[in-house]
Symmetry: C2
Subunit: 316 residues, 2 copies
């Protein structure tokens, strides 16, 4: 299987790097970091073991070459296209995907939120579209430099036109590379499970300017996290998921066990980048409303985030 990684950051750099390291045929699309990685390669500092893929412009060539591209037009057609862009950049896929697609390609959106696959399938009818949820703590430390602190499980599920055998081969390649991975036949359910974590922590770390550890230590913010989880589970089940109430406690325990962490939305906000409000908040709120449930608490967080995002955009 030939892989494309679209958006080589904290997620794409890690998963693509792990696949390449274990011998898979992986092709990475870069944006601003392209010149850097040609010169210096891709560096991954991981709790599973550090590694490095060398750049085509590097003198010292040892190990595995990083197949880096700055344009999708230069890339080969691929069997599996792993999209690890931020959802705010999904509008770029209309141009990025066509050169990569053959008649049996599968696009896997490894992203947070809800509704990404629906939107993409409108633009690419007939294409096999799947989704992936990463339970991982990793960050991009700098150009071509990924730091993977904890966890790493990736779950993939089909949305439309997907041959499950392709997802199973992807899963097997991940497992071969040393990562926990699995497939699901209920992508919607898994997307909502991820939201049970993302909805409280992404927004509250921004609004309250705090790490996950601070939110967990304080009894009031901890209660608020719990309340948002419970509301998300209620919304999820109205939208066809099957999540037990106890899943909230499981996510709290999971977060208690984590090292102090700043979710991607907090990092985006701190760096004055646009936040993934649309897919992580607005789409779930809309989906729940379409099923007759108002996400009252989540809407407060959404509106606060929208206000805060504009306040820094205006300041620029």
């Amino acid at each position: 299987m030939r892989y494309a990684i679209i958006g080589t950051g904290a997620l794409g750099g890690f998963y693509g790097g792990m696949l390449a390291k274990s011998g898979a045929d992986v092709h990475f699309l870069f944006n601003n970091d392209y010149d850097h990685v040609v010169k210096y390669g891709l560096r991954v500092d991981s709790v599973l073991g550090n590694f490095h893929l060398y750049g085509s412009g590097q003198e010292h060539r040892e190990g595995i070459l990083l197949n880096a591209y700055k344009s999708a037009n230069e890339m080969p057609k691929c069997d599996v296209i792993v999209v690890t862009l931020k959802t705010i950049n999904n509008f770029l896929l209309k141009k990025i995907l066509p050169p990569l697609l053959h008649s049996k390609s599968t696009v896997i959106l490894v992203q947070n939120g809800l509704g990404m696959e629906e939107n993409l399938s409108k633009e690419f009818p007939g294409v096999a579209i799947a989704g992936g949820m990463a339970f991982i703590c990793s960050v991009k430390k700098g150009p071509g430099h990924i730091e993977h602190a904890e966890f790493g499980e990736l779950t993939v599920g089909g949305h439309v036109n997907v041959d499950m055998k392709v997802l199973e081969r992807f899963r097997d390649d991940l497992v071969k590379s040393g990562l926990p991975a699995k497939t699901t036949d209920d992508l919607n359910d898994f997307r909502w499970r991820k939201l049970v974590w993302n909805i409280p922590y992404n927004g509250l770390t921004v609004i309250l300017n705090a790490g996950t550890d601070q939110l967990m230590e304080d009894p009031d913010s901890r209660q608020l996290v719990n309340d948002l989880m419970v509301e998300t589970i209620t919304a999820a089940n109205r939208c066809g998921a099957h999540i037990q109430d106890e899943f909230a406690q499981k996510m709290l325990d999971y977060t208690d066990s984590m090292l102090p962490y700043k979710p991607s939305m907090k990092l985006d906000f701190d760096h004055n980048r646009k936040m993934e409000i649309e897919y992580i908040y607005s789409n779930p709120i809309r989906a729940a409303a379409a099923h007759g449930f108002k996400m009252e608490k989540t809407s407060v967080v959404e509106q606060q985030l929208k206000f805060l995002e504009k306040s820094f955009v205006e300041a620029q």
Copy 2:
């Protein structure tokens, strides 16, 4: 009528000052500012006209003397005791009030929130207790220096053991001093009306670090303000108030017409002072819950404020 002003800040300094200026017999309790006002008096910069009450230690004595005290034990018994403390200091009333009370004294709590009268009546059974709501923009600029920017209407209503004639005389004295004032026979209704303004603006200016004008300009925060108002009106009517839905629009229009303003809670937060979360948020949420209504959105704001308050207390 002899008046006591307990807590001479933005509200007490203004209302008490206006009463004294127009000839009423007013006695002011000060805390930290006592030495300053003895030396320099009380300065009120008001859109209705600036004025000054001279301090007993001032050389240049012109106009009206400020009757200032640093302890309630030194004050005379009074007919009307106007409490303009922050509610976080209401625990002090147990010591402050006894020396001021005669058998027909009326205590008027000019404060924001819900449940202050209930709590006080438990500590002072048999005493006449009333409440007051000030629709005013005023701030304490420094020791003995009040700035009154806009509005000023005071509404008073009885809670328990109150002779309405006393409240009417208080109202008349305010009107005589040049202020709009009225009485109400439904204190609960008016307390909730004030909360329709306080619940959105006090909390959101703190959480989003913004003035009222910024919250009104941005469509998302404006919608959030509106949603919190609607939730508060629903809670109010469950708790026996009679507030029309249109009252939310009236409060939005009122705020649009205001100069940019930082509510008292925002000033408290900016100065690392304790915030009035208990009476403005927790008590209304509890009251609504006792009537079977969950203030979902307001609870988010309450929990966020409690987190933020502790984060600065810990930093000290």
